[in-house]
Symmetry: C2
Subunit: 404 residues, 2 copies
Amino acid sequence: MEHESDSHWGYVFKILKKSKKSNARAGVISTPHGLIHTPAFYPVGTKATVKGITPAQLNDMGIEAVLCNTYHLFLRPGDKVVKKFGGLHKFMNWQKPIITDSGGFQVFSLGLGMEHGCSKIANSALETGNRRSDGTLLRKASDGQVEKFAKITEDGVYFRSFLDGSKHFIGPEESMKIQENLGADIIFAFDECTSPYSDYEYTKEAMERTHRWAVRSLEAFRRGSSVVSCQLLFGIVQGGEFKDLRLESSKFIGAMDFDGFGIGGSFGKFKKNVKNILDYSVEHLPENKPKHLLGIGSVDDIIEAIRRGIDTFDCVTPTRLGRNGTALTNKGNLNIRSGRFALDKKPIEKGCECYTCANFTRGYVRHLFQSGEMLAGILTTIHNLYFMEKLMKKIRKDILENKL
Amino acid sequence: MEHESDSHWGYVFKILKKSKKSNARAGVISTPHGLIHTPAFYPVGTKATVKGITPAQLNDMGIEAVLCNTYHLFLRPGDKVVKKFGGLHKFMNWQKPIITDSGGFQVFSLGLGMEHGCSKIANSALETGNRRSDGTLLRKASDGQVEKFAKITEDGVYFRSFLDGSKHFIGPEESMKIQENLGADIIFAFDECTSPYSDYEYTKEAMERTHRWAVRSLEAFRRGSSVVSCQLLFGIVQGGEFKDLRLESSKFIGAMDFDGFGIGGSFGKFKKNVKNILDYSVEHLPENKPKHLLGIGSVDDIIEAIRRGIDTFDCVTPTRLGRNGTALTNKGNLNIRSGRFALDKKPIEKGCECYTCANFTRGYVRHLFQSGEMLAGILTTIHNLYFMEKLMKKIRKDILENKL
């Protein structure tokens, strides 16, 4: 049984098997740089590098695609610089699929997120942030004066660089142009990502703006050279933790001619809400197109999301935890820095075939962390990314064998 | 024409070719973990890891041996811990030859070196250091009191850990035991390394102590299990920048039944002195045994030293420079952080076949440094170590073909 999505060439997404017990499916996304077998997890390479890991090592792990951040690359080295190097694939020497986000997440992380203390991105430039009713995001400058930090308008977002405070603007057209320059295989429509603490009124306003930006993104995408270079454009469903907004956004975005869809934004303050909000978010999305859940990476969440029809994921968690000494295992997280591993000759996870587990003991990795050695984070990141890749392969196999 | 050194089993060192124009020679050192083709450069893996580089990557570069620091491993994780893991080879998963130094260099770097401001090891625990005429090394404690930091006696050295200030003692017997526990293939006799600013009188006193320690080291080595495990013991020539002391040390150490020799210590304040001091240092060493120049790693120095009969080298320079953004090339050092490389599509060095040069541009590596990414140091270190390995292979080839 095969389902193919409509697309401007060949196929974008082929569903190879649908679960009989849930909405889970195993498939394959066709991109200009090859196939992505789904369900898939994308390691994050924010600044055109998965921290501490060479492309050769990613290849060895069997990883098929990585996600880079448009916002960071726009600011440094600049999308035009990346274009001069022939695009992200050549720049970072990763010949397999690359995904870029829209940059819109920074509206959240540099604005509302700061206000509510739940930013996912550390921003040393910011001391504090406040949002005025007109959408202006404020920060306290070093002289104590409150100045504008970012401003959301119908056109797009005015903001300051977290690197040097310089002023910038990104709207849907700019986001498309930047992502066209970066040259990823899968790119995202420009969206506004609200905070978990945003109220219904503001979340609705932001969602409606995201819908208008989606229309403009798709129009700009079609005018640009992205279609010629066969980039795929995914639209993003927003709506915060509100059922009717999620359903509305799903209907609006799902009706548009995107190659696939992303589910963005907040899923509510409580984890138990995740399932419901996800259900509403995918309710009206076409079944035969790929669906990506943005920024979610815990094992439990991934499995629940796959049951609800999500195909792909990205998250910094496996790499960030790895650098900080936490290893992912089938028995939960392992704090490899712990003194109890000082003499432990076992690998991080018994039976794991990653380079780290095949060659090094917990005691050695713990020693590297104690000594502040780079290799500590590298080896634990390798294990964590391999763990995620293995998890996805297992889930895929289970779906193909009717076990999920 | 083959020259074999005497040894307690088979052969330790085989000279395959001697230069007709200089004292340079190409040979091979046989160790329990395989061969080292000389001339050879050993990357330094101070704390049982070459910073940021996996053993697999070292293997890919064709590197045959690494040098680890006894002092650091004695303090953390402890030589007994390493022994429990089956020795350094198993601990760090490096199955080819490993060399450990004697730990005596720390007498210099934590004592006299600090006094004279020329320590090679950053020591955050130390604010200042002074040496009393009795050999006591002082430091100023946080409460302003001057306290003993390290003390050299006939027995050995009493010192405080740079990690936690705890008190320790290492003498010749302890150094042998620690190195036996670490289990490297080539180990060194315990020595005192004087400062370039030490006067004749003190340098002579330290050299004579080093000679007495060499006798005790060799005796302890023979009593221990090192001989059974086929470790090789190298004696160290000292004598600072003084001709007669170097000749005397060369004669004394060279007459002892070591498997090979290290040339340690200061070569004078001025680089032009290096050649002479080296000549005196090797004057009385047996020709048919391998000679290691401790801690010297600049290309010019290496070539001059090889002409004078030195076979092997170790130095942190290629790795340290790499992490800090300086690439070694045939045209000299390249500051890869420089803005002039922002759009440079060339590899670090044209024609270089290392992983970095085969896959990445200067512009990308520069971007990684600008962004503070781990991969920046990793890629540049890979290039630098490959550069050194290639240099040694070229020199070896030149010797074998009578071109040096």
